[in-house]
């Protein structure tokens, strides 16, 4: 019993049960069964099975790294790997037993005995700690009654309904089918297979950790890339579709699934590449680090040219569907860069950013529409309205900034949130219906014309967004190092002190809100032209929240961070489409994970990263 209390075995227990809970939970919400429909490698492994394998594998790998910290030897690590595998399977196996016809009695026994066992355990613990007999008996009774109420009512429900399935609707045949690895009819064999696979996969995880660095890293690359491409088969196929002829494509994919040979080839190639990188990567990086300033500048320039060429060719590389996603991402990059002026530079938490987006979209819609609501029936073109939408959004930003100038922090956030709501209500109101169509919105917005060609495909619209983004990026970078940018940062740090430096804070804040609104207007106008119709329900508070989140996920006040944040936040739900109805569950989980692992953002600005890396050091220095 005592060696179970060591920190090492505790780690194994906690991690193993965590991954077991994960498998149980994903099963209970129906994810495992749903993922089984989707094959990662054709007729070999499904996404559901991959989840069952990956959980013990990853957990065992991680627990092996923790065990090494505690000084565990080879044997310990291997036992821990097997243990993690077993623990991962355990909760689901228990549920499997409880759910089966033969062993349903176990469920009732557990429910009946649970209060007594729990009460005795707690009371025994108290007794050992030296409590008086009376107290111990009191505690025993109390716990037994409390737990009893819960378990007996559960037992009651099950007896009435007769089945676990009526409570846990997703614990159905499909789930059993996946979790027993297609041994649904022979329960014992199914449990055995599941347990064996889980333990083996846990062992494999710890063996991987014990390998020497080079093959280990090569295998991690190989496995990672193969599973990623397999899991996101649809996206991978869409990209390949543009660049590979149909027959080759059919060799690689069966519908959206990697074929076995292709998967094997992919695994071999990526492992080999990983092997080479693990062997020579460091050397290459060192050699790159040691080259002189002049050749490095040329290299940087070459890199820039390649990057620009890549950005220009992107729509032809990724095809129509993904170009459409790229345009949406670009629209959000625009908004992110704009909102960052208010939030990142000036520290003004603006939650009503959707206002500017809506103003831009409606201005473009009403001025260019050739439908019944169009005011000018085509006199105005897209290109003429873009500057108008920009100015209109700036004006809106200015107007809304005036009443909130004196507010700070949370109060400002709530007030701006209110403005966002006002715009939403105005757009849908009867009052403005003659002008902007109320709930029906404005239709028949023509696509932009360029030199006589209509830019109607996402591949073409992409270039408009690209130019707008590059321009905003340029302005944003210049602002960062300007006197104006500096004055915003001073306000963000301390408004009173900024005033004491001679900064007219009211003017600076107005400027921040106004400039911040500008890109929102352009983004809205491009959005309206892209979709061709404008509805009020496109302009909800979720737009504001999305823009705010992409700034935080990417890295506050960091321009590259905002671009990456938009790609991840807007692009991810599109990629996760393959996980059907669990898309937003996964999306939420990934966001939480990201904020735990990288609270400073994916590409933090120098200030924020500095704070995170040396915050403690700085505090120590200040304390001296």
């Amino acid at each position: 019993m005592d060696h179970l209390r060591s920190p090492a075995s505790r780690t194994v227990l906690t991690l193993g049960l965590l991954s077991g809970a994960f498998i149980l939970f994903t099963g209970a919400v129906g994810m495992i069964a749903a993922f089984h429909e989707r094959e990662v490698v054709d007729r070999f492994i499904s996404l559901g099975q991959l989840t069952l394998l990956a959980a013990p594998f990853v957990t065992a790998y991680y627990s092996a790294s923790r065990l090494r910290e505690y000084g565990g030897d080879l044997r310990n690590v291997l036992i821990a790997g097997a243990g993690v595998g077993l623990l991962t399977a355990l909760p689901s196996i228990t549920l499997l037993l409880f759910n089966s016809d033969e062993f349903r009695v176990l469920l009732f026994l557990t429910l009946r005995l649970a209060p007594i066992v729990a009460a005795s355990a707690i009371a025994w613990g108290r007794h050992r700690a030296g409590a008086e007999t009376q107290t111990v008996i009191g505690i025993w009774l109390l716990v037994a009654i409390l737990v009893g109420i819960v378990t007996y009512s559960f037992a009651l429900i099950f007896e009435i309904k007769g089945d676990l399935r009526t409570v846990l609707v997703n614990i159905d045949r499909d789930w059993v089918e996946v979790i027993t690895f297609e041994n649904r009819n022979d329960l014992m064999r199914g449990i055995g297979t599941f347990g064996f696979v889980s333990v083996a996969s846990g062992l494999a995880g710890s063996v991987l950790y014990l390998m020497p660095t080079v093959p280990r890293r090569a295998l991690i690359y190989g496995l990672g890339i193969t599973t990623l491409i397999g899991a996101f088969g649809e996206t991978a196929r869409l990209i390949l579709q543009e660049n590979v002829d149909r027959d080759t494509l059919r060799e690689i994919f069966r519908r959206d699934t990697l074929r076995q040979n292709a998967a094997l080839a992919l695994f071999v190639i990526s492992t080999a590449a990983g092997f080479l990188w693990a062997l020579y990567g460091r050397q290459a990086r060192e050699r790159f680090g040691s080259i002189g300033a002049a050749p490095r500048r040329t290299l940087n320039r070459v890199g820039l040219v390649i990057f620009v060429a890549f950005m220009l060719m992107l729509p032809w590389l990724i095809g129509r569907t993904l170009s459409d996603v790229a345009v949406t991402i670009g629209i959000f990059v625009l908004m992110g860069l704009g909102l960052n002026i208010a939030i990142g530079l000036a520290g003004l938490l603006d939650l009503g950013y959707v206002t500017n987006y809506a103003v831009g979209a409606y201005f473009l819609a009403v001025l260019t529409s050739i439908g019944p609501l169009g005011l000018f029936k085509g006199t105005f073109t897209f290109w003429m309205v873009i500057p108008i939408a920009l100015l209109a959004a700036m004006f809106a930003g200015f107007i809304f900034a005036v009443p909130v100038l004196r507010m700070r922090g949370d109060y400002l956030a709530i007030a701006t949130l209110g403005f966002g709501e006002i715009i939403g209500k105005l757009a849908i109101s009867d009052w403005l219906k003659p002008l902007i169509g109320g709930a029906q919105g404005v239709q028949a917005i023509p696509k932009p014309l360029l030199l006589g060609t209509e830019l109607k495909n996402p591949e073409q619209l992409y270039y408009i967004v690209l130019v707008a983004c590059l321009f905003c990026l340029f302005v944003s970078i210049r602002l960062n190092n300007s006197r104006t940018g500096r004055q915003w940062m001073a306000i963000r740090e301390d408004e009173d002190v900024a005033t004491a430096m001679g900064i007219d804070t009211a003017r600076a804040k107005l400027l921040a809100f106004t400039l911040s609104a500008a890109t929102g207007g352009v983004a809205g106008a491009i959005f309206a032209a892209k979709v061709g119709t404008v509805f009020p329900n496109s302009f909800t508070v979720f737009i504001s929240i999305n823009v705010l989140s992409l700034i935080i996920v990417g890295g506050i006040a960091s321009n590259p961070g905002i671009v990456v944040g938009a790609i991840v936040l807007i692009g991810m739900p599109e990629l996760l489409r393959e996980f059907s109805e669990f898309r937003f569950l996964l999306y939420g989980a990934l966001l939480i994970l990201m904020m735990i692992k990288r609270p400073q953002g994916l590409i933090p600005s120098k200030i924020v990263s500095h704070e995170h890396s040396s915050g403690i050091k700085a505090k120590l220095a200040a304390a001296e």
Binding site: R483, R486, Q487, M489, A490, E493, D494, D496, V497, A498, T499, A500, M501, G502, I503, D504, T505, I607, H610, E611, S614, K617, A618, A621, A622, E624
Partner: protein
């Protein structure tokens, strides 16, 4: 004529009557100490003079001009500079950027010489000019706050509790610096709880008590004053 003339100002925090008719004056070239206990209204007085708060009654005149209704940011270009309480350095800007911010009101012009002056006054800052101000120690932050305030080339420097939270060794250094700045012709209004140190370097002093000036005299006399000795200098 006095450089700064505070005439019967009444300042409120909402309904709280914080300053109940404070009057005093500061002549050009003087070091004036404003001493008093916690909550006596010292910081409020400074905030009122610097324009961060507006008095409900009374007037403040600077160089013969009425400034009690003038916005704080405009006063900086008129030559009034403040070192706020708790230093208020911009933690996420570097030291040099902080100094740049100090010269915000001086559009254009070359800052190199002024930076050189600042670093001559505080060599410690030059060693760390690319560091974030938040990484400095308390004493260094105080130096930075003073250097930053000087970057606007003020005629009148308002110092709010420069000794707060500093080790005794550092306090001496700060007051020496203040004296040095004064010797270069900058008029100084110093708010301090550390009455002992403040009165040593000041020419004249005012004792502020619950929002009113209780005693005013030369610094030397104040040091001998029985009430001051008892209440603020801890001498029985």
């Amino acid at each position: 004529m006095a450089l700064l003339e505070v005439n019967d100002i009444h300042t409120y925090y909402g309904n709280i009557h914080a300053l109940k008719g404070v009057s005093f004056e500061v002549d050009a070239g003087e070091i004036i100490a404003l001493i008093g206990s916690n909550g006596a209204g010292k910081t409020t007085t400074l905030r009122t003079i610097s324009g961060l708060m507006a008095p409900r009654e009374g007037s403040v005149s600077y160089d013969g001009e009425e400034i009690s209704r003038t916005r704080a940011d405009l006063l900086v270009s008129k030559g009034i500079s403040m070192v706020p309480e708790g230093r208020g350095v911009f933690a996420k800007l570097t030291i040099e950027e902080n100094l740049d911010m100090g010269a915000y009101v001086r559009r254009g012009g070359d800052l190199k010489d002024d930076l050189k002056d600042a670093y001559a006054l505080f060599p410690r800052l030059e060693e760390r000019r690319k560091q974030f101000a938040g990484t400095l120690s308390g004493g260094e932050q105080q130096m930075l706050a003073i250097a930053r305030a000087l970057m606007s080339k003020p005629r009148l420097l308002l110092l709010d509790e420069p000794s707060m939270g500093l080790a005794p060794v550092l306090v001496d250094g700060v007051f020496e610096t203040v004296q040095r700045i004064a010797s270069e012709g900058v008029t100084i209004l110093l708010v301090e709880q550390n009455a002992h140190m403040a009165l040593q370097i000041a020419d004249r002093g005012y004792v502020l008590q619950s929002g009113e000036i209780a005693i005013s005299d030369t610094a030397a006399n104040l040091q001998q004053n029985e009430t001051v000795q008892k209440t603020y200098l801890g001498i029985d």
